[in-house]
């Protein structure tokens, strides 16, 4: 069951990411990024992170990507053109990314037995829900960082309003 979920949504995520890479138009890239985020939400769910799965759909796919699409349409962004700079990025970037991937997957596969396996639905079998667990430590031990993020969001709102003003 879980291996089927992992294969289907893992392949969907990789296909969406590759589509982001190969599409020329920003709207198509944004829509394929939404596919990646939705499949990652399913994978979070299968790992027992129900709250994060919901937050991924609501915050990432619902809020951030809508903001992206809004800006793409506001600026009327067309297809990007290939230039000389992107040729050199192909030559340097693709082997570099492949090298990083080979290193990471070598380390992960080498320690595959030590890392263990997953169980569907996560680890919380003792009648405490994922949301209860997260909110308990978020509102007791981590209350100060949680409140500081509200200041961060406030600063971000003010910064966005100031930066996007007509007369800058």
């Amino acid at each position: 069951m879980q291996i089927a979920l992992f294969i289907i949504f893992g392949l969907l995520a990789v296909a969406g990411a590759l589509n982001l890479l190969f599409q020329r138009h920003p709207i198509n890239s944004a829509l394929s990024l939404i596919v990646v985020m939705m499949s990652l939400a399913v994978l979070y769910f299968s790992l027992g992170a129900e709250f994060l799965a919901a937050a991924q759909v609501i915050v990432y796919a619902g809020a951030i990507m809508v903001l992206f699409l809004f800006v793409v349409m506001l600026l009327n962004a067309g297809e990007e053109e290939r230039t000389h700079g992107s040729k050199s990025a192909y030559i340097a970037g693709v082997p570099g990314a492949a090298a990083v991937f080979c290193l990471l997957s070598f380390v992960f596969l080498k320690n595959k037995a030590a890392l263990g396996t997953t169980q569907l639905g996560g680890y919380l079998n003792n009648a405490v829900s994922n949301l209860t667990d997260i909110s308990h430590s978020l509102f007791t031990n981590l209350l100060l960082p949680f409140e500081v993020t509200s200041i961060l969001i406030l600063v971000a709102i003010l910064g966005a309003v100031v930066l996007a003003r007509k007369e800058l």
Partner: protein, 100 residues
């Protein structure tokens, strides 16, 4: 029963596609999207490790990453709008005021 290593390798695949997109893409909005893709890949790693250690600390980290990503997206897109107003382009090759 999926090995944790497979989840980590999936995250590595997504992260490396994000790196490649960051370097290859020329549109500044798409470059910003590839940063979001890399953040998502790292989030998957955090959730997989939280599952492995039977603790919610990793999930709380992901929560804070989401908050920061939302703030970053708002400010970054405002900067892109301001940049577009001045330069009338989204191509990063033509935004080279500090070059030379």
């Amino acid at each position: 029963m999926v090995p944790i290593a497979y989840y980590l390798i999936l995250a590595a695949v997504l992260f490396c596609i994000g790196i490649a997109a960051f370097l290859i893409k020329r549109n500044v909005i798409t470059i910003f999207m590839s940063i979001e893709l890399m953040l998502n890949a790292v989030n998957l790693t955090f959730v997989a490790f939280a599952h492995m250690w039977h603790q919610v600390a990793g999930q709380i980290f992901v929560f804070f990453v989401m908050v920061v990503a939302a703030a970053e997206a708002a400010v970054g897109l405002a900067i892109i709008i301001a940049l577009f107003r001045v330069r009338q382009t989204l191509n990063v090759d033509q935004i080279n005021l500090l070059k030379n």
